[in-house]
Subunit: 364 residues, 4 copies
């Protein structure tokens, strides 16, 4: 593997650059016989799409997906599903200056050193735009897992900069541009407006869960379910931390309180976050990530160019002041891809995938 | 893959159960021509070995490694290196009661549901004992990376339970049983003694770094260096959280401070933790993990048995009250395995592995 | 893997159906910095293209390739190279009859049983049309191997039906529609004309070689160079046999004549076909394949339908009477993909790829 | 992968050298719950064992297997099964001469060029001794496939040197040292005696079949069942050719006779060898291989040493005059490993593995 395929049995190979002709992916391993149309995928792409509020980038990316293969008369055939998204909003401009200097916090420096060449247009391969095919592939996995096992993936924002967001209800999430689980987001809007005026950016904390989980998914010793979740999440642009269940809070916990007790009715708590020994328990998966502040800011920064000389860098253009705001549909998709992979692995080795008897879903 | 192989080009296949005849691993892909003896490996196994202080389990596991293949006249031949560690301290006892009930916080429940059968002796496959072959394989990777590129892996404990441990110097780490970077650990000893008397356990925070890093390691879009680090760390027994660089602190940071500026002399800070866009920058890798409290405690816990009936579980035996204490050599090994894998991938695609020009090592 | 990716380090993921919107592939792992344009690829696609003589199918497939990603300002960037070929000659017709019966010698029966659904249009996924993306990917590998190491891939037809074709010169191959290494192909034209009139088809034997080979490519114990060659060749549509070097003739050979002796000037023969112990010797790779007769013939055949009832099957349409005729550019591409993969693996583990000292190229 | 693992879902990682401390393998992915003991494996190892007749090497290798992991109370647990075979017959002798020259037909030359170092003792890693762990792993696969689906693997010798062996009955195979399907093997004994007296060696043709095959195994476009069979067979020491079904005879066949017709009672012939479009049809798998003459002969051969100087090589020691004689149990094991892998893949993607309705087994 050269790094652009996610998964083994449900293998999603991603391609494209931000300002190239197209982006997309090939899904290999989708079970045959599932009804699938472009509309099933488009609905998730639209949730991720920029330009939907003043708090996210104003780039116009219609992100219209085309299914090129793997579907016949509206059903998957078990052959590769290729998904194509043409790039349309490629503003032609002069990248020659950008191409020779390294923006702080960006992948410019590392890409250039790795490959000796990089596509600087709109971030090229390292652009968050490349999460669109992941969301598209995730939509396919989500549909199969929902229809087959009733698994549901939900995410929400739990902190923006210093502002923690309490959990009120999943019902609020689709009703505001922050994917926040609260009814009133006016203080978040104020916060973001101030940040934008200051020409700065902030980080975010995002939570993602899966409910209706089968038991037994995960392949220790190494390909544990939580290890693969951490791989998926940390691999997302701008993510600097991942927690499962109690996460870093478990450091100060005692064994007598951390270990989730069981009763005949199921687990009595979910400090584990739905995973024990790297294998799903049937409880809700519960994951949190830390998203760093957007690196593209208009505040001038000190840097160097490819010859090692000092330069001052200012990143103009249309950028999210908090990339975490649009992360929710992406992390839902990533979690779905991980669960899908392990569901197929469980079928391979153990022959079936089942729900556990009565684990109490402990996530709020 | 069925989950027991770590890495692709430097592939470590782990086998064994805690109380079976033996544990071990097969390393496939080690470059030929490196001097290697059992002593090179034993030194790292001895750092991980239990029974070295009163704060860790008193089990006697000599963990004597035997090289079965892949070395001829003291040099690696490029063929698989099989490492064998015989289990010696398998106290024969009656596991029939344990085998039928699920200990809270343990993998009993999930293994049983996944496979329909489990080896209950000493935790079987889910025992932390299976980290020994990982440490052994890591020793091989560390030697090659040190000799070839000068990379050095170091870890330390930064928090035990509620007690944060400040960083004083790497020099202190080998001089106390906690791998703590401080001169005086008497307060930690007192803390652990009280915990043990209370029959309880606590979590820990552990930090691991790599210095002398080459630039350009990591394979985006998915097999990013930080993604693979997160995979490795979260896959370690008891780990519930992983951070790279600023980690969760980056949520409340601003873009103007988080993004590491560059000067002709190198980076001016290391919020990135040595990775940008999933590719190493040449700065120190800087990773932190959260280790949950040991699940094996003598305090009685509420649980169920395989028939779904209520049972009370008490875990007797010789257990670490804080599994994080012995985690340091293991996470160093895991980080080495990740770096090794990506060094070989970089050679494959880009033909060489190089040091960046003058990145200032920013980790203390 | 779900079967649609060829290679690991130079990984080619193939997608599409014969009469779907498009076919193509994604190449992951191409080294950066190589000049690459669509013209480099199109030249090989044109060699494989149907409709170029009266002895092959008269379908008009322009097979125009578009590079969607991975190339910036005319050079590869090290990121995935997606190649797209739109299907244009999809004659709309009624496939309902074909869809319900199994043509002898075709994949209809096995696809239907495997997936429970199949795309019957033009053979769907099992069409030889899907070799086009392989040829395209092979063109990229060939260019890199030629520029970097001077490797050259050449193939020719050595038998059509009962007619053996002697080897005269590689120079003749591009000058006739059979890829035959002879000057006068009039007897082959007569043979094919008679076969077409009889409404029947015939098999072929095709040879493919690589010269200028580096030494040391191949990863025993299992991923041997010859094993991967056999995998590649047997996986090609209609192939029923593969030979390396002396092949089946070695059964009746003696050890005293089979084993290729060496002199200070190199090997004195090439019964090995360029591979010893699964590793290239630097001699020419020499491979032969058996291609079965085309299954699509207008002679009526006895078969059954999906309900198990007897049916008579006649395959109309535009089909090659000898699919082996167009196999040459495809097997050259496949051999190039195998060599490319192992060249990158050799770089990964052993650090470089070299020519052996003076092996005499023994293939004619 | 670095080449020493066979399979992905039923992954067998092989290690060891001919005269090192031990050889063995780790099987990852075996389904849980199957009864398994060392006796199940030993029976197949004993079929492969040398020293059982005067026509094979007289080396004494007891090849006693030890199960190190993955089995609890006589049943597989779904965790890795490590198998260990200690080397016992390592005659200490001076390898310094052999180590510096390249025996014709051997892997000495290519290993030395690839790795820059090689273990010369008894052929080191390239010895046919390393097929023992493959036979052991194959025994596990065979047992599961037999118990679960009723698949049976059988092989026999069909030609020794110039002497073709007609097929009489499978019943004869275990009753003679040649695995020949004939009652009277006296002419084969005479042939081998003469060959041995002449100090020479000969090749062989071996056939291997699987009956009771499920339908639908194989993952086109690339990981076809027949492609993987070719990979497995060509990867075996000394194999130079592989055929499926009609094999090279199909070159001279007509489409009207090659394509296997179907009736409501099943297929009417088996030119396909049990595979159509890379997917099993439920008919018997039918495979033939060409084994080259043993390279180790006492007749002096011309060669060079590592400095490029001419040397004369004579291979003394205890060698099989026809390595094909002992190939039968090995190719049965390899075929079982391939079928096992694809059975698990079929479960993963399509959810189950089934027998086709009434394909007539066409192999004799």
């Amino acid at each position: 593997m050269s790094g652009n395929t996610f998964g083994t049995l449900f293998a999603v190979t991603n391609f494209g650059e931000s300002h190239g002709p197209a982006i997309g992916c090939v899904i290999d391993g989708c079970p045959p016989g599932m009804e699938l149309s472009e509309a099933d995928i488009q609905v998730e792409l639209d949730r991720r799409r920029p330009g939907t509020s003043r708090h996210v980038t104003q780039r116009a990316e219609p992100d219209q997906v085309e299914i090129l293969s793997g579907v016949y008369e509206g059903r998957t055939t078990g052959t590769p599903i290729a998904l194509l998204i043409r790039n349309t909003d490629q503003r032609s401009k002069d990248y020659s200056a950008i191409a020779q200097s390294f923006r702080p916090g960006h992948a410019d420096y590392s890409y250039w050193h790795k490959f000796g060449i990089r596509d600087p247009r709109g971030g090229g391969r390292s652009s968050a735009r490349l999460t669109a095919p992941t969301v598209a592939a995730g939509a396919v996995a989500r549909k199969w897992l929902r229809e087959r096992y009733g698994v549901q993936f939900r995410g929400c924002m739990t902190q923006v900069g210093e502002v923690a967001i309490p959990f009120e209800s999943w019902d609020h999430v689709p009703n505001n541009p922050f994917f926040a689980p609260i009814a009133d987001v006016s203080h978040l809007e104020t916060y973001m407006d101030q940040l934008r005026k200051a020409g700065d950016s902030c980080g975010a904390r995002v939570r993602v869960t899966a409910s209706g989980m089968p038991v037994g998914l995960g392949e220790p010793l190494f390909d544990k379910l939580d290890a693969d979740i951490a791989f998926a999440m940390m691999g997302l642009n701008a993510v600097k931390g991942v927690e499962i269940g109690a996460g870093f809070a478990s450091v100060a916990q005692r064994g007598s309180t951390h270990g989730d007790s069981l009763s005949p009715q199921g687990f009595l708590s979910n400090n584990a976050g739905g995973v024990l020994g790297g294998i799903s328990t049937g409880q809700d998966l519960d994951v949190s990530i830390a998203v760093k502040p957007t690196s593209s800011i208009i505040t001038p920064r000190e840097s160097i160019d490819t010859t090692g000389q000092s330069v001052e860098v200012v990143t103009k253009g249309r950028h999210d002041p908090c990339v975490g705001i649009r992360a929710t549909p992406i992390v839902e998709a990533l979690l779905a891809l991980v669960v899908m992979e392990h569901a197929l692995r469980q079928r391979a080795q153990c022959g079936d995938v089942r729900q556990a008897v009565a684990p109490i879903p402990a996530s709020a």
